[in-house]
């Protein structure tokens, strides 16, 4: 099984059909023998964004046969309303989502009636009630176009009116369903009536579309993600993308060979909304970050930096990786080297763009890489499925794929100049929004390492916790903390009692209800600010406060935040005249960590017959006393209660 897949992944475009036939035969064999899990695993890894359309169609058919045969933790109801033939696009979105571990139930609207579906409250679209709506539209759906003789002011008001129409559609769908919306922007066609002057003439179509794209992007509320399909057209080349034969023949939106990439782009946004974006890029060193082998060639012998074409290319790759880090992607090193030798490059080589402090977890030893990838995931407290492993060595990649199949392992080309493109094509690190938290993430993980050193020296835990001088800010979710709260709700796996995912839209709707109480906790200590690290949602029911969601970032485990938050919650409950707090634990494959969360906080178990899914309660009798902890509440502001 592995062999044919390896050959397929590494095949040149010419050899791909034959290699694909081998993979397809294996897949059919597994399907015929009802070995569904094996078939699913193979299918997931045979799907990648640059696969050709015909192979992708074959995979679509095989994927249909697997529907309902395999379990998935991630399910989503998606509606696609479009103005072109969306059939192929929808099947391919489903295929990519399947490869990303998502089981999608998809409603596909009739061709060209997206406005009617949204404006008619009794439409099938509303009956289907999707969580996500993808508006697959093109520039042909623009209701207005400025005349060539329009002046700047006239074009501006056209844009405003047009933008208003789209906003109204979003608001209507969102108002009825509370759904997230993915809206295509408008691809700029390759032809230009004004030639080079197109970009400058106020009434030109190209300039109008450019301005419209800016307008929709800026006007999009948090529940709308603008899908940058114009970027796709530009990366493919506009003449290539815009092959009109398929539009006139079958109303396809672009060259079919581009559709696989188009659908991958949409699927990656949906996956990110489900919290499935990757979090950490794990890098090999020799011939991945620099040319040559540091152990053999030495500091002066490796190729890196100005003056040597290969060295410059490695430097460019490092700069690309550094940019990823600066916007919140974690970096780790996984290399077969002596640790001191490897670190010396980071500390002493003058041309290195990446420095030791950029790497959140540095593993250089002679262990096998599968073991080291597990160590990295554990150290950073993230799942193996959050890792992307970049290694130039095909053998190492093959071993990683086989032994730690959860880790994404892109097929890097032989030439370093192709590394960036390969990583970009996979859209591993898709983001929906960037908060201040993202830009500072690496810092958090680093001060975490410093804290661990202190822990070693402080002797006992109590003394250590005291020495941290922790200060917490606690309060309801506000406009300022909404984005980060939703990010945690969508991403936290381990310290998460119920793993209920909610979008911004759903959370806002819920918070508008007075019976719901929300709290976030931000924690600072003498090593730095951890930012917002815990979210709790609870609902008042008669005399009890029922905890719906309780989650926390794992970087503040064992610091007493749980006790601190519970003490606060008890006060809130008393203020509302409530005498009992209830909570539940819903087990998943990742939240074993909090199985005894409520027991440890002094709750007693309510027997409900089910062994796995447990319910707990805490009676607030007079004898209840706050739990001890070392966290001080910040006194100035923030702690107002609802």
């Amino acid at each position: 099984m592995e062999d044919s897949l390896q050959i397929f992944l590494a095949a040149s475009e010419r050899d791909r059909p034959v290699a694909f036939a081998m993979v397809a035969a294996r897949l059919r064999e597994a399907l015929d023998a009802a070995r569904y899990d094996e078939a699913a695993a193979l299918l997931r890894r045979a799907v990648f964004p640059s696969i050709d359309y015909t192979s992708a169609q074959a995979l679509v058919r095989l994927r249909q046969k697997l529907r309902g045969q395999t379990a998935s933790n991630h399910k989503i109801k998606l509606a696609v309303l479009g103005s072109f033939t969306t059939k192929q696009l929808v099947a391919l979105i489903d295929l990519h989502l399947f490869a990303m571990g998502v089981e999608a139930e998809i409603y596909e609207g009739e061709y060209g009636v997206f406005r009617q579906e949204i404006l008619d409250p009794t439409s099938e679209f509303y009956q289907f009630a999707p969580k996500i709506l993808f508006l697959a539209t093109t520039w042909r759906d623009l209701g207005r176009r400025p005349g060539f003789d329009s002046d700047q002011a006239a074009v501006c008001s056209t844009i405003q009116a047009e933008q208003g129409d789209w906003s109204a559609l979003w608001q209507t769908a969102h108002h009825h369903l509370g759904c997230q919306i993915i809206q295509n922007n408008f691809t700029i066609p390759p032809w230009r009536s004004f030639g080079n002057h197109e970009a400058r003439h106020p009434g030109s179509f190209g300039k109008y579309l450019t301005a419209m794209n800016l307008a929709v992007t800026e006007a999009a509320p948090p529940f709308v993600t603008i899908h940058d399909v114009d970027h796709l057209a530009s990366t493919w080349g506009r003449w290539r993308w815009d092959d009109p034969r398929f539009f006139h023949q079958a109303k396809m939106p672009c060259d079919p060979e581009c559709l696989v990439d188009y659908s991958h782009s949409v699927a990656s946004i949906i996956a990110a909304q489900l919290g499935l974006a990757k979090k950490c890029l794990v890098l090999d060193l020799d011939n991945t970050l620099w040319g040559g082998v540091i152990g053999d060639d030495g500091l002066g012998g490796i190729r890196l930096g100005q003056g040597n074409p290969e060295g410059e290319a490695y430097l460019e790759f490092q700069k690309y990786v550094k940019n990823l880090r600066q916007r919140g992607v974690l970096l780790a090193v996984c290399s077969k080297n002596r640790e001191e030798t490897a670190l010396e490059v980071f500390d002493k080589h003058p041309e290195m763009a990446l420095r030791r402090e950029d790497i959140s977890c540095f593993v250089a030893n002679w262990e096998d890489k599968a073991t080291n990838l597990r160590t990295i995931a554990k150290t950073l407290n993230i799942g193996l499925d959050s890792l992307v492993f970049a290694d130039d060595n095909p053998a190492e990649r093959a071993i990683a794929r086989q032994l730690v199949p959860e880790v994404a392992v892109p097929e890097l080309p032989e030439d370093v100049t192709g590394y960036v493109k390969t990583l970009e094509q996979h859209r591993y690190f898709q983001v929906l929004s960037i908060g201040a938290e993202d830009l500072r993430r690496t810092e958090y993980y680093r001060s975490d390492a410093m804290r661990r050193d202190t822990q070693a020296s402080a002797g006992d835990l109590q003394t250590f916790l005291q020495s941290l001088e922790m200060i917490a800010r606690i309060g309801p979710i506000t406009a300022v903390t909404m984005e980060r709260s939703v990010q945690l709700i969508q991403r936290s796996n381990q310290f998460n009692l119920t793993t209920r995912r909610r979008s911004i839209a759903e959370l806002s709707a819920l918070l508008a209800d007075k019976r719901w109480i929300s709290r976030t906790v931000s924690l600072a200590d003498r090593f730095g600010d951890n930012g917002l690290i815990s979210v709790l949602l609870a609902q008042i029911r008669e005399h009890s406060l029922e905890i719906d969601t309780w989650l926390m970032s794992c970087r503040v485990l064992k610091r007493g935040v749980e006790a601190f938050l519970l003490n606060h919650l008890c006060q809130v409950a008393r203020d509302h005249g409530l005498n009992v707090i209830r909570g539940e634990y819903i087990p998943t494959s990742k939240n074993e960590l909090v199985r005894n969360h409520y027991a440890e906080l002094g709750f007693s178990k309510i027997d409900d017959g089910s062994e796995e899914h447990t319910a707990w309660e805490l009676k607030l009798a007079d004898c209840w006393r706050p739990l001890p902890n070392f966290i001080k509440e910040e006194t100035n502001g923030g702690a107002n209660t609802k």
């Binding site: 036939a21 015909t54 169609q57 058919r61 034969r245 023949q249 079958a250 396809m252 060979e257």
Partner: protein, 83 residues
């Protein structure tokens, strides 16, 4: 030459219809191949263009499924395009 083209086209048909046993005969039409609907017709065109390195004009794409057309005429067209 014709036999070579026939083999290549047959492989494309096998891949597109997911049937490794499919054998093309000159008198076959769309009605004789299970699943040859308008969507699969388009998929065939796309696959032939990519695998055989040819291009169909917009009008030719529709003409391929008109009455009187069969695998024989398709092979002829491919041969002409190959030059």
């Amino acid at each position: 030459m014709v036999e070579l083209i026939r083999n290549e086209v047959q492989q494309v048909f096998r891949d597109v219809f997911g049937d490794p046993q499919l054998v093309l005969r000159d008198d076959m039409t769309a009605n004789d191949v299970e699943g040859w609907d308008s969507l699969q017709h388009l998929n065939l065109v796309i696959a032939m263009e990519k695998r055989l390195g040819i291009k169909f004009a917009t009008a030719e794409i529709s003409r391929l499924k008109e009455d009187g057309q069969n695998i024989g005429t398709l092979l002829e067209m491919v041969k002409r395009k190959r030059g």
